[in-house]
């Protein structure tokens, strides 16, 4: 768990407010990849309430949700769409199988964007995701 700052960057405040109103699942991390928010729709897919997941580092949440390719092979952080957004600072889209904290495997698609307050000022990343229909 990381220590929280006095106040988040305005971009993150706005992103959280936006996510809190959305019916689409949203996962928000800071520039280090630490979980700072996910909404109720995301809680359903992750099988995990935000109050339990806040402050998880990228290593912790990428291990907890056991992300995998369709083949079953482990998907490392830097290949996850939100990992690409943080590490490469580029948008990314992809499909990944995760295991929720409720023990249920779900195949999801995610689109992620890096969040820049200014051109070179990465403040975090946001992922929108949804469950693939069989």
């Amino acid at each position: 768990m990381s220590q929280e700052p006095v106040q988040r960057n305005l971009i993150l405040i706005l992103a959280r407010q936006f996510a809190a109103q959305l019916a689409t699942a949203v996962f928000l991390v800071d520039a280090e990849g630490t979980v700072i928010y996910y909404n109720e729709a995301a809680e359903l897919l992750l099988g995990h309430r935000f109050i339990e997941g806040r402050g998880m580092t990228s290593g912790e949440w990428s291990a907890a949700f056991a992300p995998r390719h369709a083949s079953g092979e482990h998907m490392p952080l830097e290949q996850l769409p939100i990992g690409v957004a943080i590490v490469e600072r580029e948008p990314a889209h992809g499909a990944v199988t995760i295991r929720g904290a409720d023990g249920v495997d779900r195949r999801i698609e995610a689109t992620s964007f890096p969040l820049f307050a200014h051109t070179e000022d990465l403040v975090g990343a946001i992922a929108f995701f949804w469950e693939q229909q069989a």
């Binding site: 929280e4 700052p5 006095v6 106040q7 988040r8 960057n9 305005l10 971009i11 405040i13 706005l14 959280r16 407010q17 936006f18 809190a20 109103q21 820049f116 307050a117 200014h118 051109t119 000022d121």
Partner: protein, 280 residues
């Protein structure tokens, strides 16, 4: 530091008998740190009279801190007498946008057809400083800026000197999509600027009823400013950016409502007025 209000009206200048007690000039606040340097917050119409005073004093170096570039915060710059004086050194701080520099953004207003001159034609030497998210010092006074919630790039300023803190959040809607009473401070726009300030100068443009039809316009209601002051645990609150449609008596009703909602000694909550002076 000494602080003086030269303009506290929001949106557009509103001179006249009905606004006489609190004034009709748009945003402008003078700060004199212990060093005697001249620091000005915003260049609304209130800066015209201040500029004349500074010329009389023979001030040669001025730091102008702009919160944003909406016209009511910039329109006085063309009538700011020191810029037409040889030897004036004007440092302008303010937010750049993601695609344009501060200088280019100011030039949009300060050029034909909106103004007859450009800043390149004035006599002062003008230096521009990006204050989007910054910390700097002028002698012993420390300044910081943070982006805050208002349409377009906008910052608030925090000034600290000798253990005293002044916070300036003139155009600010911290409650957009948020519940100020329930949210953790880290998720409240402007909290880092205002936290524990001895004096907070804050937007209080709308009544609660008016705010209902102005959500997203970038300003606060009486209820929100009271909640924000409570959360930030400030010492004194100076209500600012008065709506141009509000006459003096209406402002006093709003002040009384903030006092009641905040629930502190009434002396801690006042309406900003032209000529108000503070010593921190």
């Amino acid at each position: 530091m000494r602080v003086r209000i030269w303009g506290c009206r929001g949106s557009i200048a509103a001179p006249g008998a009905s606004t006489k007690r609190y004034g009709g000039n748009t945003s402008c606040v003078e700060i004199r740190p212990a060093s005697g340097e001249v620091v000005i917050l915003d260049a609304g119409t209130g800066i015209r009279e201040l500029g004349a005073r500074l010329v009389e004093e023979g001030v040669r170096r001025i730091h102008l801190l702009l919160t944003h570039l909406h016209v009511d915060h910039l329109e006085g710059l063309g009538m700011f007498a020191p810029i037409y004086e040889d030897g004036t050194e004007l440092h302008i701080w303010g937010p750049a946008s993601p695609v344009a520099s501060l200088e280019d953004r100011i030039a949009t207003y300060f050029s034909p057809p909106l103004f007859p001159l450009t800043l390149a034609e004035v006599h002062a030497r003008v230096d521009y400083h990006d204050a989007s998210e910054s910390e700097w010092a002028i002698d012993e006074a420390r300044f910081s800026s943070h982006a805050i919630l208002h349409p377009g790039p906008t910052v608030g300023y925090r000034v600290e000197e000798g253990g005293s803190v002044l916070a300036y959040l003139t155009d600010h809607e911290p409650a957009l999509g948020a519940d100020l009473r329930a949210d953790a401070p880290e998720w409240i726009s402007g909290f880092g600027i205002a936290q524990g300030a001895d004096v907070l100068i804050h937007d209080c443009q709308y009544t609660r009823a008016e705010y209902e039809s102005r959500v997203g316009w970038g300003h606060s209601s009486t209820e929100q400013v009271a909640a924000f002051a409570t959360k930030a645990d400030v010492g004194r609150l100076l209500l600012f950016h008065h709506d141009p449609m509000h006459v003096d008596e209406q402002l006093e009703v709003m002040r009384d409502e903030v006092r009641e909602l905040w629930g502190v000694d009434p002396s801690r909550c006042e309406l900003a007025a032209e000529g108000t002076e503070l010593e921190l």
